[in-house]
């Protein structure tokens, strides 16, 4: 099939993120082929929030890399929400430039026109205000991950891709950052796709959860959440969680 990695520009306005990947195989250094993805196909509606959940090593990061255009060696189709909108990614590791300070790492990601923008507030909410002149090697892992989040949030992307953004953070900080993410995501029409192993987190944030099977990954099922975020209280969450856990065993 054709490699449609350049999306068709939507006629007036943003379109859904559409992903379809079939039979993605890696060639290992030992010469053996590793089948990572059998078939993954899903859509994320414009300006909505989707989550990918699947067992460790099933092909989630691979899917995100394909969406980010970092791996073009696949069969299938890919359609991005905007032809050339900004994309932000929080990788599974912080991926900071070790030779640049925290602030420089964030600023470098800004488009040239906004290079001088005021970032005080962003650093403040992320608890990085004191860390702006530090180098990544002087940060704890949790702090480094927050810098990676700061970088993603700073550029005000139209597509936001997050690979387990809230691990290595204590519950309080993680909760604060989830609220920040919701704010950033809702402030402008942003399409977001997140990978997580934390079903609670997924239920709190998403409009749609895509469950994947073991490697080679297939879509196991898609769970839609229509309850507005403001109405998702503790009781609602526990019900939803147990409903999902009943259908998709092992995710909680």
């Amino acid at each position: 099939m054709s490699n449609l990695s350049k999306p068709i520009p939507p006629a007036g306005g943003r379109s859904a993120l559409a992903v379809e990947i079939r039979g993605k195989t890696f060639l290992g250094a030992d010469g053996e082929a590793v089948r990572a993805i059998e078939e993954i196909a899903f859509e994320v509606a414009p300006a909505s929030f989707a989550t990918l959940i699947g067992p460790s090593g099933c092909g989630k990061t691979t899917t995100l890399r394909i969406i980010l255009g970092l791996d073009t060696d696949f069969t299938g189709r890919l359609k991005l929400p905007e032809a050339d909108g900004r994309i932000a990614a929080v990788f599974q590791e912080p991926r900071l430039l070790p030779w640049r300070t925290v602030e420089e790492n964030v600023r470098l990601a800004l488009p040239d026109a906004e290079a001088g923008r005021d970032l005080d507030e962003l650093f403040e909410v992320l608890g990085l205000a004191e860390m702006r002149t530090r180098y990544p090697s002087e940060l704890s892992l949790g702090l480094a991950r927050r810098v990676a989040l700061a970088r993603a949030f700073a550029i005000r992307p139209s597509l936001l891709v997050l690979d387990e953004p809230f691990v290595s953070l204590d519950e309080q900080t993680a909760g604060r950052l989830r609220r920040l993410l919701t704010e950033v995501w809702s402030a402008r029409p942003t399409t977001a796709l997140m990978v997580t192993h934390n079903l609670r987190e997924a239920v709190e944030l998403s409009d749609r959860i895509v469950f994947l099977t073991e490697r080679p990954a297939r879509v196991r099922g898609i769970h839609e959440i229509t309850t507005p975020r403001s109405e998702r209280d503790t009781r609602w969450r526990e019900t939803t969680l147990s409903a999902i856990a009943k259908r998709y065993s092992g995710v909680l």
């Binding site: 430039l97 640049r100 488009p111 090697s137 002087e138």
Partner: protein, 259 residues
């Protein structure tokens, strides 16, 4: 503990102690050898003073430094560019690798003579010949560096749409810094050695010219005087420019744990 003792001395002082040690070893060895071919420090200093007084030494030193500097800039710029390209592009590398090995192994003499013959006995030919001798070495080192570039950071730069220049400056070059340091340190010494040959074969001034003159007279003291004058310049550059610059550009590196 010796560690403590070292740390008490400032880095400058350590360098002075180090050089004094070297001088002492030389002096003792020369006194013991008592040979015309291993002159003592005062003899070398006399030779230095003789040519320094007439200004001759500084003239020749300046000429050589000029050639070394010119060739260094050209060789590092061209060599780094080619090296990075070959390191990042496996196909180009596969094609040009044999060329590289050829140019690496062409003797300096051959390149220099050909340059002089084709471009005349002039400064441009001399500096060009030195640079061409050095370029393959820079290419080889920078190519190794470019091969080890971090793929993760490159991908990050792509996702965040870093321009080519931004990627080069903030992502690629900092990773190549150690390779660049290695290429330029051993590079400047190689260039100076080739400059000596270039001056020997077809220039009428420069340290190489003088060393050869004194070699014909077998005046080892004068040869060492010129050599050490050049080394002194290099040491000065090392301490006043290179080391502060390096300390600055590697300040982000985690300090090695002690103990």
């Amino acid at each position: 503990m010796p560690r403590g003792a070292w740390q008490l001395l400032g880095p400058r002082l350590v360098a002075v102690v180090s050089l004094a040690g070297l001088l002492a070893i030389w002096w003792v060895a020369a006194s013991l050898a008592h040979s015309r071919v291993l002159p003592t420090p005062p003899e070398v200093f006399d030779a230095f003073w003789r040519d320094a007084l007439t200004g001759e030494l500084f003239f020749h030193l300046a000429m050589t430094l000029m050639r070394v500097a010119g060739a260094f800039v050209i060789a590092m710029a061209v060599g780094s560019a080619i090296g990075i390209l070959l390191g990042m592009n496996a196909e180009a590398n596969r094609f040009f690798d044999p060329w590289l090995i050829l140019f690496l192994n062409i003797p300096a003499l051959v390149l220099i003579v050909l340059a002089y013959i084709w471009f005349g006995l002039n400064e441009a030919a001399a500096i060009g010949a030195i640079a061409v001798n050095k370029i393959p070495n820079v290419v080889v080192t920078m190519r190794e560096g470019a091969r080890t570039l971090d793929r993760d950071l490159e991908e990050m730069a792509r996702v965040y749409r870093f321009s080519g220049l931004k990627t080069l400056r903030h992502v690629v070059l900092p990773q190549l810094q150690p390779y660049f340091a290695a290429a330029s340190r051993s590079g400047i010494s190689l260039i100076w050695k080739i400059a000596l040959v270039v001056e020997l074969l077809g220039r009428s001034n420069g340290v190489g010219f003088q060393i050869n003159l004194y070699f014909q007279l077998f005046d080892v003291a004068a040869i060492l005087a010129y050599t050490l004058a050049f080394v002194a310049v290099m040491l000065t550059i090392e301490f006043l420019l290179v080391q502060p610059f390096e300390a600055h550009s590697t300040r982000w590196r985690p300090k090695r744990a002690r103990g």
